[in-house]
Symmetry: C2
Subunit: 301 residues, 2 copies
């Protein structure tokens, strides 16, 4: 018997995709941050779909205030919309909770979701609740619809060798606090797609060590990471910036000729948020490998 631990998340998804019918002409292949639905060339706006999940003891510790968990549950999904250049519209919430969960904690969870929905102009459209058996971890799943203007859509798969790699914000040290309070980079992504449209983009949820190879591979490229340039969060060093995960910053690529202009304009409009060149994409086989990032089904050590 092969278990999920034996093969890991990416291999699991690759094995599952052939089993199910998919859009015959998808606007974006499986494996991007969101599914992209093209209603037809007469429409300017594409629909984005995303589902995500928080599990206690995996994505947050027991005893974490519901309000922080609620913020994170919604913010993670919104971060994926940002990574495509889009915005959230409506969310659906599925709660699978032990019967002994305090109602007050669930109300706080909804307050936190509300904080994040209000901050980014989205609404709750529906939900579902179930109990889980005694001793099972609470599970909070958030699905959402979003939208992106056809001209602003950014995929993971459209970068080219030679393009510069940039990252917003500071990396590493997301535990114990930042992963519960981060700001999805929706406004920054909209600014980018309007003024300096990236050739590819992804949000850093599983860490640079996993998400950078995903972007490069989707674009058919290798990469060179300039580790000395990494913008490390206070108290962090390069390994944490590469491996910790849950940064929820934007990692994107752009033609190297546009980098200087981008950095100048960025400093004016986002003076408080660093934007850093951290490397470049190269032809396959010419880059350097990376340490591991976050793995959802970690091998037994």
């Amino acid at each position: 018997m092969t278990t999920l631990r034996d093969i890991g998340e990416d291999a699991l998804i690759a094995r599952l995709i052939p089993f199910v019918p998919r859009d015959p002409q998808p606007a974006a292949g499986p494996g991007d941050d969101c599914a992209v639905i093209d209603p037809g060339p007469e429409y300017d706006t594409l629909q984005l779909l995303k589902t995500d999940v928080l599990v206690e003891q995996v994505h947050f510790l027991s005893g974490t205030p519901g309000r922080w968990v609620g913020w994170k549950a919604v913010a993670r999904v919104i971060s994926d919309f940002a990574a495509m250049g889009g915005q959230p519209e409506r969310i659906l919430v599925t709660l699978a909770l032990p019967t002994e969960t305090a109602v007050e904690w669930v109300e706080d969870l909804y307050r936190g979701m509300s904080d994040c929905l209000l901050a980014f102009g989205a609404v709750l459209a529906g939900g579902e609740t179930s109990r889980v058996p005694p001793g099972s971890a609470p599970v909070i799943s958030v699905s959402a619809t979003g939208r992106v203007h056809r001209d602003h859509l950014v995929l993971r798969s459209t970068a080219q060798a030679g393009h510069a790699l940039l990252v917003t914000g500071l990396l590493g040290g997301s535990f114990p606090d930042k992963h519960l309070h981060f700001t999805p980079r929706v406004h920054e992504a909209r600014w980018l797609t309007t003024h300096f449209k990236p050739s590819a983009m992804i949000d850093l949820s599983d860490g640079l060590a996993r998400d950078l190879p995903r972007l490069a591979e989707a674009s058919g490229c290798g990469f060179v990471l300039d580790e000395a340039c990494l913008p490390c969060a206070p108290g962090c060093r390069t390994p944490q910036a590469i491996e910790d995960g849950e940064d929820y910053e934007l990692l994107f690529t752009i033609d190297p000729g546009r980098v200087a202009g981008l950095l100048d304009a960025w400093r004016v409009d986002f003076p408080a948020l660093p934007l850093t060149v951290i490397g470049r994409l190269v032809h396959v086989g010419a880059g350097n490998p990376l340490r591991r990032g976050w793995e959802h089904f970690p091998p037994q050590s």
Copy 2:
């Protein structure tokens, strides 16, 4: 401290709804089978959104073949689209599974989802996976988008006192097998909305005892159930038909003057599926109460 067990599912949802921003002008209020998104009067088609969840030991037993669980996970959501007169389009799947889960079981789960998607013309648009801590129950959440023609939309809240109550199929005895193999009544609902549009409709997921009061309450009515007329599944008697739940049949209302014509036409087009008048809606306070159906957070006995 108040727990979920103390207040139950419907009261929990009622407490949570005020905390979060919602559509300022929703096409259907919270509490219907799906959320209804109206893109504007120039469009004939409305979008439907739904999320649902299966939890091991709650919705299926340990050791149930993955293929059956996969069918049920998708079919439950499709049944909700049917209840609005609509059809499914795209699903998102979130898996929260123990790391020791067999990959083969997950592949079978996807085969079962595929069976159901193919049967009803829907596709997989995306997904998410996470582990759960050791000892936690597997959780499978399915969210979906669907569509309904504006003229075919049926809500729970639009029935009137005097309307006849009808139900498709046979009720009760959904365990141990039928709840894993049921057929969502998409085709029957489409036929109804085209030829004999119901004044209100709901799918029977939690049992007549809970879903009939929900429909009646949403419509501002009471109800009279003619228990002697209930179409009981083989081996079942009236209490099971009322309380078992997971029938996934359609419960709907229609003007009493149209019932005879409906029954005649139904027998021609669906000769193998019973359609039964089981009572009527009445003014609030004039009806009869019912036994309990399925409760997601049952009180301790």
